[in-house]
Amino acid sequence: MTIYNLYIFNSAGSCIYYHEWLRRREAGMSRDEEMKLMYGLIFSLKSFVQKLSPVDCKDGFLNYRTSRYKLNFYETGTGLKLIMNTDVNSTNVREYLQKIYKEVYVEYVVKNPECKLNKEIVSEVFKSKLDKLVRSLPIFNNRVI
């Protein structure tokens, strides 16, 4: 069980936070380009799922799985997007993303007047609280190899 990394995008599509706990492969491009590619992927997946769905969908896209990792997606009503890459067997990641939003983002970014909304999150307290929460999750078991 592992958690690889976490992306937070604002409603305008720019990455306001990125952190990695474990990553064995770089995307082969600059961080900036990678964020744009990731947002493009999520944006297209959302419209793809909406069109392909046989019946009306409510939440739309939830997650996808490849042979090596699973990408989990959660979007709030305000358009904030949280994306977490985990190993393929992890479950309930959506709940954890909701928890991150509720207990860390709202508490330490929205309620912090020093944090400008829609700007990159530089708050140290957010960073440490997030790290603490993620490390306490049952699916977090990163071994350094």
Binding site: Y4, R25, G40, L41, F48, G60, F61, Y64, R65
Partner: protein, 217 residues
């Protein structure tokens, strides 16, 4: 039991086969009084509900007919402009039929090639080395399974999220493709599959899945 759709995508990203097994149609008719409490807008030349969900009418549904007269583009088939009809009070009470827009062949081709690129990007953004593309994609209403053969052809199945064992169905479709499409001397590779035997056998397999589940494929 929900519909199962099968897509086959060539290694260049073109859709070479598509079949919907028992597609679901969502249609709903309702009588309205003046003024209309829905916000309607033209999206892709179809009159779409953009705000004001009620009963079974959801955002994204399109208007199919007004008072039983079908709608094509901006005009009703009796040549009246649909917006004029909906704006004038003397036409009320009015009965409007809504439905979920169906995918046309062109839209399916677009979706198939979109998936082809999403598949490639997913493997590029992987945090682990030697990663494949999307194998299973989950949404709240369906699950999409994809199986890529070593020659690059992709088999994609859209199924109900409760349906299990789709992986074996994908292998079976691959087998049918090898047996009935590739062995057909009139079939040109990478081109749309028009082989009657393939259609017949695929439908038989899907029929069997629907009746008895995945176990005896």
């Amino acid at each position: 039991m929900a519909a199962i759709s099968v897509y086959i995508i060539s290694k260049a990203g073109g859709m070479i086969y598509q079949y919907d097994h028992n597609p679901i149609t969502i249609e709903y008719e309702k009588t309205f009084s003046f003024p209309l409490d829905l916000v309607l807008e033209f999206v892709n030349n179809r009159l779409t509900v953009t705000f004001g969900q009620m009963d079974n009418i959801k955002v994204g549904h399109i208007i199919l007919s007004v008072n039983g007269i079908p709608l094509s583009g901006r005009k009703l088939t009796d040549n009246r402009d649909v917006m004029e009809v909906l704006k004038s009070e003397e036409n009320y009470p009015i009965s409007i039929k809504f439905g979920r827009p169906k995918l046309g062949t062109n839209e399916k081709i677009v979706l198939a090639s979109t998936f082809h690129s999403l598949f490639a990007i997913a493997s590029q953004l992987s945090p682990e080395p030697h990663c494949s593309g999307i194998e299973v994609l989950e949404a709240d209403t369906f699950k999409l399974y994809c199986y890529q053969t070593i020659t690059g052809t992709k088999f994609m199945v859209v199924a109900d999220f409760k349906q299990s064992g789709i992986e074996s169905l994908l292998k079976k479709i691959h087998e049918l493709y090898a047996d009935y499409a590739l062995k057909n001397p009139f079939y040109a590779l990478e081109m749309p599959i028009r082989c009657e035997q393939f259609d017949v056998n695929l439908q038989a397999v899907l029929e069997q899945v629907e009746k008895t589940g995945m176990s005896n494929i």
